[in-house]
């Protein structure tokens, strides 16, 4: 195999597939996808439920079907694929150190690298649940893999901590397979999952959702025997006397996702502490010229359709970089999250490099009704967008057309949320 590529894509999930295809379409010749699993498709392979692709394909697909379409497209090109291959490190000089059973240790070189490593789940350790350490405590995604791909049931009486989408989807999945899901317990006073999933995964199966509650103890010698759930106060501290006991043999944790950036850090790429992902420009380029990033490795998405969009952008930029070199621009505008906004991607915008417009993706910090998203430069308002409903569990996107940037003065673009009709 060759050692020099135009574009090396790290990760063969939805982000990597879209990036590679887009780089190829943009004219990159030698494109390689490196994937650590034995097949392409990433997490979509275990997301057997439907609801994917409404934006992208204008129809409702299951996860494997969505991935399958991209895999077919990739297989119809000469994009090279290395499966069962682990990337160990990437260098600032765009070298890629990887290893697999067939070729052993490899040092590859790329003109451009696209980081599409995705994210991983927070574990029991990350949220420090007190109690015993018995078998039967799984992250929801691990359980999903056991049930949907390997064919193992991981419990008969289940308590789920966290009401993110994966937790909700698993509540339904376990119920369908004959388990009794006793409760879905959420620390926050609202759910982080999509409304449709509350309805079709919890309500359909009469699973109670305990908002403002958490698990305060896990009990069991070899296997989980019971858990204690308690109400929490405004500071998320358990309130004595509110404890409820659930006899169960399984606890599933759906308590957040962390972008997987060990490789980005090994290359000294600038990171955003808000997203735990690389700081990116308007074309998804990181702080290293020619290294791009897209998908959940940059910020955690709710919809795979948006992962595909973002990755196409990165792939296109990588293709252009291979052929025309670096983007030349001096004027940089920094997007800065203000009141009510948790983060914003991209973090940096090169005004001269804007194509038709810039799409800003962000999450709000709490639930809002009838509010406006205000976008201001250092002096004045540039744009505002009305929203009837916003929640931290739902990523927001607004598009700022090119012409608006002619009006931006100063180095900052502030994004904040305010009540409708109220002057700042």
């Amino acid at each position: 195999m060759r050692v020099q590529y135009d574009v090396i894509v790290i990760g063969g999930g939805p982000a990597g597939l879209a990036s590679a295809l887009s780089a190829k379409q943009q004219g990159a010749q030698h494109v390689l996808i490196i994937e650590r699993d034995h097949e392409l498709g990433g997490i979509l392979n275990q997301c057997i439920h439907n609801g994917f692709g409404l934006h992208h394909f204008k129809e409702e697909l299951t996860g494997p079907e969505y991935a399958g379409r991209y895999i077919d497209d990739v297989n119809n090109t000469d994009i090279e694929i290395l499966l069962d291959t682990m990337v160990i490190e990437i260098g600032e000089d765009k070298s890629v150190y990887a290893s697999n059973k067939e070729f052993g240790y490899m040092v590859l070189h790329a003109t451009s690298i696209i980081l599409n490593m995705g994210c991983r789940e927070r574990t029991r350790g990350a949220i420090a649940i007190p109690g015993d350490r018995p078998a039967g405590v799984f992250s929801a995604g691990a359980a999903q893999r056991y049930v949907n791909i390997e064919g193992y049931m991981c419990g008969k009486r289940v308590v789920i901590l966290g009401s993110g989408d994966i937790g909700l989807i698993m509540a339904r999945r376990m119920s369908l397979e004959g388990a009794k899901v006793l409760a879905c317990v959420e620390l926050m006073p609202y759910s982080n999952g999509l409304n449709r999933n509350i309805v079709q995964c919890l309500h359909d199966y009469d699973i109670p959702l305990y908002l403002g509650h958490t698990i305060t103890n896990i009990i069991g010698k070899d296997r989980v025997e019971s858990v204690v759930v308690a109400k929490v106060d405004e500071k998320h501290q358990p309130i004595a006397g509110t404890e409820i006991n659930f006899d169960c043999d399984c606890v599933l944790l759906s308590v957040g996702l962390i972008p997987e950036n060990e490789l980005s850090r090994s290359a000294n790429i600038d990171m955003d502490p808000r997203t735990n992902g690389p700081v990116v420009y308007e074309n998804m380029e990181t702080s290293i010229e020619g290294v791009f990033a897209a998908g959940n490795v940059v910020h955690v998405h709710d919809l795979v359709d948006y992962v595909s969009d973002e990755s196409e952008k990165a792939g296109k930029a990588a293709g252009l970089y291979v052929q025309h070199g670096a983007v030349k621009s001096n004027a940089i505008v920094y997007t800065t999250p203000g009141e009510g906004v948790g983060y914003c991607v991209p973090q940096k915008i090169r005004k001269e490099a804007i194509d038709k417009g810039v799409e800003l993706s962000f999450r709000v910090r709490s639930v809002y009704h009838n509010v406006e998203i205000h976008i201001c430069d250092d002096e004045k308002e540039i744009a505002k967008f009305k929203r009837e409903h916003m929640a931290p569990g739902e990523m927001e996107r607004v598009v700022l057309p090119n012409v608006l940037f002619d009006r931006v003065h100063g180095e900052h673009l502030h994004i904040h949320i305010q009540k409708e009709g109220v002057q700042a």
Partner: protein, 119 residues
């Protein structure tokens, strides 16, 4: 008036359905929401996704779905029915596993390609 959350797409519109007035739907932002609102109160349906056993592939299970939405009450019988299915790799997306499952209008379709694999 009954309040519902539309599950047709991830947007999750808050619907109001007037049972007294031929199930007129308010609050929907697309035509599919109107259909959902009425159906949810008259004959609620869901698309079912699950897995069935597969032999001769690199994994033990293959994902399947109903080709269209089926009455909610049928879901447990369809799940039972899927327990008895065993497929042989190779499999391709869209392959029909069961026709008109449990008397519904839906077929059970494979949703993932599984290559034949020998240890």
């Amino acid at each position: 008036m009954k309040e519902l959350i539309c599950i047709v797409c991830p947007k999750g519109c808050h619907l109001k359905v007037d049972e007294a007035n031929d199930y007129k739907v308010y609050g929907n932002t697309c035509p599919r929401g109107e259909v959902y609102g009425k159906k949810e109160l008259t004959n609620p349906t869901r698309v079912l996704t699950s897995t069935v056993r597969v032999v001769g592939g690199r994994q033990e299970r293959v994902s399947v779905k109903t080709s269209c939405d089926v009455p909610k009450g049928l879901l447990p019988s369809i799940m039972d029915c899927l327990n008895d299915v065993e497929l042989h790799a190779p499999l391709h997306r869209g392959m029909k596993v069961i026709e008109k499952v449990c008397g519904s209008d839906a077929d059970i379709l494979v949703t993932k390609d599984i290559e034949a694999y020998e240890e």
